[in-house]
């Protein structure tokens, strides 16, 4: 694995010393240029309960066949797990030359057994970081929930899990939370006819991965706390609190030619007056970066120190995305207003504000969350929507 580049900054790189400090920071991760995309392992986790019978099953089968026959590259693989009241491996890893037997529908919906089956199936997988794993979880109902800690251990196998809610019966908020725990995104399918588009979109996303579910190690210094650690622009909550010590966080896949941004809040008990005050060390594979702040007594210097507008944009973007997920309209409007103001000095804030506003204008919560999931920042910080 070649080296990605990490860079961490604070809103201001100097602070009043001998005092406590609360500030915000951002870590950005960019894959090395010309990095090759990884071969894809696509694991379909499909609801085959009674409500899927008829149109549901036929659309899902059609979408699977479309991926297998038209989209898959020679190096890609696909596997299928089906679940109703219980879960089974329907098709194990197969490449373009393989076939998938037709699905049958009937029975209840149990998310818990589906996730357990996924974990035991992936446990026997020979993924060594050289393949990108994408699980696709599709349901049209509200099943018995899976345990959060089980869902969040999916990235340990180099997989992220995306969820598709067929919203006639599914609960988008629940499925979005599952996707977030498994570092994936939520896709919104108002009816079965939208399932094919979602399958295709997830497959196309899977083809652009350069680092599969990387693990970020964070060493937080004594007297420092990091909190509200959120991946932007998608607004994926990575962790709520990291105290002093070493932590390991699973991240989403790193996509070719994009910049992964991680916003966080920093709280320091007392800023040292001598040189750089170490806050944290971030490392991903062989790449490492340190975040520190310089303590000073010089008030004039402090007041006039410039604010890092890139960090400000990432911080606002995290607030806006979180608020959209919570459905807190007031907080969204406030964050957008602040980003618009920032747009006068940072053009990247402009493009991002436009897309966030677009998300807020969507008619359903499911659609809003899908737009958030599709937001990407290119290596220069300019935001765009991933195309299907």
């Amino acid at each position: 694995m070649s080296k990605p580049s990490l860079s961490a900054s604070l809103i201001k790189d100097i602070a009043l010393c001998d005092s406590p400090l609360k500030t915000k920071g951002a870590l950005t991760i960019i894959a090395e240029e010309h990095q090759e995309t990884l071969p894809l392992d696509l694991l379909l986790v499909l609801d085959v309960s009674g409500s899927m019978a008829g149109t549901g099953i036929s659309v899902v089968t059609e979408s699977m066949v479309h991926i297998l026959n038209d989209l898959m590259r020679a190096e890609d693989r696909i596997a299928v797990i089906t679940f109703n009241s219980s879960a089974n491996v329907h098709t194990t890893w197969t490449n373009v030359s393989g076939t998938i037997t037709p699905l049958k529908a009937g029975g209840g919906t149990n998310f818990g057994s589906a996730i357990n089956q996924v974990l035991s199936f992936l446990g026997g997988n020979d993924n060594d970081g050289q393949r990108a794993g994408v699980a696709l979880f599709l349901s049209d109902g509200q099943g018995q929930p899976a345990k959060d800690e089980n869902v969040s251990s999916i990235p340990d196998f180099g997989f992220t899990m995306h969820t598709i809610g067929v919203t006639a019966g599914a609960n988008p908020t629940h499925l979005e939370q599952m996707a977030e725990l498994a570092r994936g995104h939520y896709y919104h399918a108002p009816g079965f006819e939208d399932v094919k588009r979602a399958f295709q979109s997830i497959f196309n996303y899977g083809k652009t991965i350069v680092y599969a579910a990387p693990e970020l190690d964070v060493t937080v210094s004594e007297g420092v706390t990091l909190s509200n650690i959120i991946q932007t622009p998608q607004g994926l909550s990575l962790s709520s609190h990291l105290g002093p010590g070493v932590h390991s966080i699973s991240l989403s896949h790193l996509i070719k030619d994009t910049r992964m941004e991680i916003a966080f809040e920093v709280s320091i008990d007392k800023v040292s007056c001598e040189g750089q005050h170490m806050i944290a060390t971030f490392s991903l594979g062989e790449a490492t970066t340190q975040l520190s702040v310089r303590g000073t007594n010089d008030e004039t210097e402090l007041y006039n120190a410039p604010m890092n507008t890139d960090v400000t944009m990432i911080a606002h973007s995290a607030i806006a995305a979180t608020a959209i997920k919570k459905g807190d309209e007031q907080a969204v409007t406030r964050a957008i207003t602040k980003m618009e103001k920032l747009g006068t000095t940072n053009p990247n804030a402009n493009t991002r504000t436009k897309i966030i506003s677009q998300a807020t204008q969507a008619s359903t919560q499911g659609e809003r969350m899908e737009i958030l999931g599709k937001m990407q920042s290119d290596t220069s910080g300019k935001t765009k929507l991933r195309e299907d």
Partner: protein, 356 residues
Amino acid sequence: MECQDCNKLLDKSDLAAGICQGCTELLDNTQLQDLRQHLNIEGYKPPEITPPKREEAPIGLPESEECPSCNADLMESQLKDWRNGMECPWCQEPSIHIRQSSQPAISDEVGLEVIEQNTIPFLINNGPKVGTVIHIPHDKELGRNDFRKLLNEPEYLELIKHISSEHLILHYDESTNSVSIEDLGSTNGTYIDGSKVVGPIAKDLNYGHVLNIYNLSFCLASLDSRTLQVRHMPSNIVLHYPITTLPLNLHFGRQDEQSGREPWYRMAQVQLDNDIESLERLETISRRHLFMEIECPLEEISLKIWHEQNKEPWTIEGLKDIDSTTHQKPQSSMILEHEEILLKHGSNEFCLTIKQ
């Protein structure tokens, strides 16, 4: 001053961090400036710079005059020579000071020279010399100096100004007896029937086509046939239609059958570029309007005029037995050479004359 989110009283620590120390809400520039004022902390002032004292007056520029051809600034001895009537030392452009006094002499001299060269006869479509034939040299780069020599009336000087120093070439193909036009990347453009000629490919110029060198307008003169001259009176736009292939069909509407602009209208738009009043006047003519067909049985010339259905009629002077209000074709009337026919519609007026 309070934080807008958590109502904490903001102080110096918030200003220093650029962030509310209570709820970590980011403070924007306006809020930071307000807080600065509130806390009585002066804004950032760059160090003062005192401009160095000037000991002596700056050296002034000498008097100069610009050569209209190459835009070189002529100064001192060059300026003196230029004002005495000597040519520009940079581009050999004749001095404007001599042209004013002895212009006819020069153009007479040059006129002879032009006729001796290989030339193509053109009818002039605008200015005081409308309808007269000039001979323009072919297969040679033509620029404003050439046209100054060809058209020495003061009225043309204003039009010639817009011609580039190397504007176009007329190509003449002896084997097919055809003329084509190549634009040499001129500033204001060359047009055939109102369509811009874009280099480096030469575009064919046929009889009846109008050649515009920006707003100077010509058409090919046919020395061995009669010509129908159509003059739009208010704007003085003139077109010449050689009566070679008959019947000659004319249409006085703005659009042709393919819904493109009629050539006369395209040309009018080029020529009346800055004359909004005249352009607006033209707009009052309908897209499909008055039709005319000219035939030449034996020695006579007969004319048929008809009208687009439901269009406001034109009034026609100088023709007998013609009812222009009909949209039926078969009316006809005789016209004589050098007799003027006036077609009037609102504030527009076209004058038609047949010339030998």
